[in-house]
């Protein structure tokens, strides 16, 4: 039922992002060309140059990659580092859980409790243990 990744394109997107994030972690301002990426990715698989362009295009549309014009070519970098994007993802997820109207995209395991609620929760937990 749970299918983690959406096939070859998804796997390639991951490989591209991993490369861009590694670049970004080393130097946040560094950019790469399609050729750089193609060479790096070809080490592990056979891959058309245009496929790399397609993947970068998709990632740019998903707002994960920033495209910068450099003369006639484009240079690419991750919009933010891996840690920053993870933090943003967590922030979005927690904000989604907190939506008071519950028109939520995610289904959280549990809401965040206030200190009073936590005290009541711990007492209720003691009763579960006792039963």
């Amino acid at each position: 039922m749970v299918i983690p990744f959406n096939g070859r394109l998804g796997e390639l997107e991951r490989a591209v992002m991993d490369h861009l994030w590694d670049t970004c972690d080393a130097d946040p301002a560094a950019t790469v060309t399609v050729r750089d990426l193609h060479e790096a990715l070809e080490a592990d698989r056979r891959l058309a140059y245009t496929t790399v362009m397609t993947v970068l295009d998709r990632l740019a549309r998903k707002d994960l990659v920033v495209q910068e014009r450099d003369g006639r070519a484009y240079r690419y970098r991750a919009r933010a580092g891996r840690a920053a994007m993870t933090a943003a993802l967590m922030h979005d997820a927690l904000e989604d859980f907190a939506h008071d109207d519950r028109r939520t995209a995610l289904v959280a395991f549990v809401d965040v409790a206030s200190p009073d609620e936590l005290e009541a929760l711990r007492q209720a937990l003691d009763r579960v243990r006792g039963s």
Binding site: R14, T86, L94, T104, D111
Partner: protein, 301 residues
């Protein structure tokens, strides 16, 4: 006559009935039956409201000598029926597209940032200290996501219980139940107890998923995981860890832990389930048989 009965039914089912149902926590002991009752009440209320409008409109329009007053009544009554339908459809579209767009975004980011858990197939792990666990529902490719903070905070049995809970949400498509009540709440935010319905159904689907987790892992790990994740890692909650102030939304957790602590009473619960499902069926069938059929017959005659 038909219109009057249906209008009263619609008002009662939209206001007092959901408000009253929400104050009956005993129903949470039989969550499947309770969800069925909530769905039947919502559907019956909508059908009765639309039916009342149509019945009144046709009653006037079919008269031998419809005067100007009749024309106004027909327009107003048909307008009410149309408003209910159009509002539901429009909000359904709005809520649906918004939710699906957000899920697509979450999914693409999670797939790139998370890695698969080695021991738990199908579980995605996000590298972050804030403890969270959630599922991303989808038609074919749902994801269960936990953070490394959650893995550190919970024992292995508790983590398994959390994952069983999330998988139950995914399997049961609880998101669709919630989405339907979200649409109603959005379409009719006032004069209708749509808020009470949404809040209570939200609790019920959590209780349902908790039950599924308890069946596999026992009530202790589920209760412990609930309290641990609601509390965070001891120093700060998950929300504070990413700079959000979200205190005071943990109402459902208390109800759920309370239910986990109750002794089971299979016979009483089975009787309650049967009674609730029967009531739900009656709610949908009786108005049709007693009110709508004579009305249709009168139209034909």
């Amino acid at each position: 006559m038909t219109a009057g009965v249906l209008a009263v039914l619609a008002v009662v089912l939209a206001g007092p009935v959901p408000a009253g149902l929400a104050r009956l926590p005993a129903f949470r002991r039989t969550p499947v039956a309770a969800v069925i009752v909530w769905q039947a009440v919502a559907l019956a209320a909508v059908l009765a409201a639309v039916g009342a409008g149509l019945a009144l409109a046709t009653d006037r329009a079919w008269r031998e000598d419809p005067g100007p007053l009749s024309a106004v009544v027909v327009l107003v009554a048909a307008g009410v029926a149309a408003t209910v339908v159009v509002r539901l459809l429009a909000c359904g579209h709005l809520v649906g597209t918004r939710i699906r767009a957000r899920r697509r975004r979450f999914r693409s980011h999670v797939d790139l940032l998370a890695h698969r858990d080695r021991e738990r197939p199908g579980v995605l792990v996000v590298e972050h200290d804030a403890p969270v666990a959630y599922c991303l529902p989808a038609m074919a490719a749902s994801r269960v996501v936990v953070s490394t903070g959650t893995i550190r905070l919970l024992s292995s049995a508790e983590l398994d219980a959390v994952i069983a809970h999330e998988r139950a949400h995914v399997r049961g498509r609880h998101d669709l139940v919630l989405e339907a009540f979200s649409v109603i709440q959005r379409a009719f935010p006032r004069w209708v107890a749509s808020r009470a319905a949404l809040d209570e159904v939200s609790v019920l689907v959590e209780v349902l998923a908790d039950r599924a987790a308890v069946r596999r892992h026992g009530s202790d790990p589920v209760a412990h995981a609930l309290v641990a994740l609601a509390a965070g890692d001891g120093t700060s909650t998950a929300a504070e860890g990413v700079g959000l102030d979200l205190r005071g939304s943990g109402r459902t957790a208390l109800a759920r832990v309370g239910l986990l602590g109750r002794a089971s009473r299979p016979v009483r619960d089975a009787v309650q389930s049967a009674a609730l499902v029967t009531a739900a069926a009656a709610l949908l069938v009786l108005p049709t048989v007693l009110v709508v059929r004579p009305w249709l017959a009168s139209l034909a005659g």
